[in-house]
Symmetry: C2
Subunit: 224 residues, 2 copies
C-alpha cells in the first residue's frame, strides 16, 4: 500500500517506537561488539527505517543516488509530491543536523519549488551504554523547524564566513528564544533576504523570489 508521511507517523506511534530498546552489533573475526558511537547512527537508522516500511507493507521508491533529495518517495507515481526526508539527532544534545546545503537548496527551489512541501520525519535518539532508544519523533515541514539567527535571516551552519548548510533551530523548546517561522511564505522570504545579504550570492539573485513564487504556482496552482 501507499501511505503519506502522516500515516507513517501514526504507525510509528502505534508501534510504540519510543518504548523500544535497540542495539547495533558488529560481528567480525570472532569478536562481537555493540556499537556505542553516534556518528554512524543516521545512516544505519535510515536503513532500518526502510526495512520497517517494508515490514508494514508500505511501498516507497528511492532515488538511485541515495545522496539525493528526498530520502523516500512515498507517492506511487509522482516525484513531486509526498516527498519524505528522514532526520536523526542525538536527543541529549541540540538538533544540529543538516537540512540542506544553503546554496544548492535555494538553486533547486527555482525549478523544483514543490520541494517546499516535503515532509521531515525527525527522530531524536539516545545511545547509552550501546543501547539505542528513540525518545521522540516529529513530523514537520521545513518552515516549522527553521528560524532566524543573529547573523542571517535564516539559521545556517557558518564556517569562516561561508554559509554551508541550513540548520534547524530548537523547534520543540518552549524556552528557546528563536521561534520557527510561522509559514512557508515567511521561510521563503527569509531565504531570499539571506541570498541578497550574503556577499557570495547577492549579485545574481535579485529575481530569485519572483522565480520561486512562479515555479511554486506552476506545480501546485497555489500561491506561496
Amino acid at each position: 500500500m501507499f501511505c503519506n508521511a502522516s500515516q507513517i507517523y501514526q504507525f510509528l506511534i502505534e508501534d510504540n517506537i519510543t518504548k523500544s530498546e535497540g542495539k547495533i552489533t558488529f560481528d567480525f573475526l570472532n569478536i562481537s561488539i555493540d556499537i556505542n558511537q553516534k556518528s554512524a547512527i543516521g545512516d544505519l537508522f535510515q536503513e532500518w527505517f526502510a526495512q520497517w516500511l517494508k515490514s508494514k507493507d508500505i511501498e516507497f521508491r528511492m532515488k538511485s543516488n541515495t545522496q539525493e533529495f528526498p530520502d523516500f518517495l512515498l507517492d506511487s507515481e509522482s516525484d513531486k509530491q509526498n516527498l519524505l526526508e528522514i532526520k536523526t539527532f542525538n536527543y541529549s544534545a541540540s538538533p544540529a543536523f543538516d537540512i540542506a546545503n544553503f546554496e544548492a537548496y535555494c538553486r533547486s527551489l527555482k525549478t523544483n519549488a514543490y520541494r517546499l512541501d516535503a515532509d521531515y520525519l525527525i527522530f531524536g535518539y539516545d545511545l547509552i551504554d550501546a543501547k539505542f532508544y528513540i525518545r521522540e519523533i516529529w513530523l514537520k515541514k521545513i518552515w516549522e523547524i527553521t528560524g532566524k539567527s543573529t547573523r542571517y535571516p535564516i539559521n545556517c551552519q557558518i564556517k569562516q564566513d561561508t554559509i554551508y548548510n541550513i540548520r534547524p533551530i530548537l523547534w520543540y523548546s518552549d524556552r528557546a528564544k528563536i521561534k520557527p517561522f510561522n509559514n512557508k511564505k515567511e521561510f521563503v522570504n527569509n531565504l531570499y533576504e539571506t541570498l541578497i545579504f550574503y556577499p557570495k550570492t547577492k549579485e545574481n539573485n535579485q529575481d530569485w523570489l519572483k522565480i520561486v513564487t512562479e515555479n511554486y504556482y506552476f506545480y501546485t496552482k497555489q500561491r506561496l
Copy 2:
C-alpha cells in the same frame, strides 16, 4: 602490553583477517536488519578495531576528542611517536578516503612535524549482500600513499577551485600512472610547492619549509 603498528599488522595477518566474514546488525522494534550501507563502515570498523586491540591485550590511548589526530596512541607515554591512523575504503572502488585536511595538516606540521612519521593502517573492505570482508590490509607512511596530481604537486580533493583534503593515490596498483612519493622529503617538498602555488596559501607560507624542517629536527634529531 604495548605494541607498535608493525606488530599490530602482524597480529591481524596471523588472525587471518582477510579470511573472515562479518556482519553488522541493527536490532530495533522487533526488526533485525543486516546493514548493507557503506557510509557508516569507517566509524563502525574503528570501534570494532579498538575492541579487537583490547581482546589482544594491546594497550592504547585515545584523544578525548575522537575527531582529533591520531586515532590511536600506541606509546605508553609519548603523544609524539607510535601514532596510528586507521583508514578504511571500499575495495571494489578506488581509495578515496580523506587523509587530512590540506591546510590544517600543513599548519600542524609547523609545530608538530613528528606527525610525518605516523603510521597508517589501511583496510580495504567489501560489503556484499550485507556481509563484511576485509580483502587486504596495508601498513603505510603518508608519503607511501600520496603522490602528484595533474593540477597540484600533491593529489587533493578539490571542489570549485578550493583544496579540501589530501587524498591517496592508487598506491597498490602496478598499472597506475601516478606513483607514490619516494620518501618523506619528497612528500614535504610537494606539500610546500602546493602551498606556494595555491592562491589561498601562497602569501604566508614562504618560510613553511624551513619551519617544518627545523621542527622535525627538534623532535627527532633527524633531517627530513
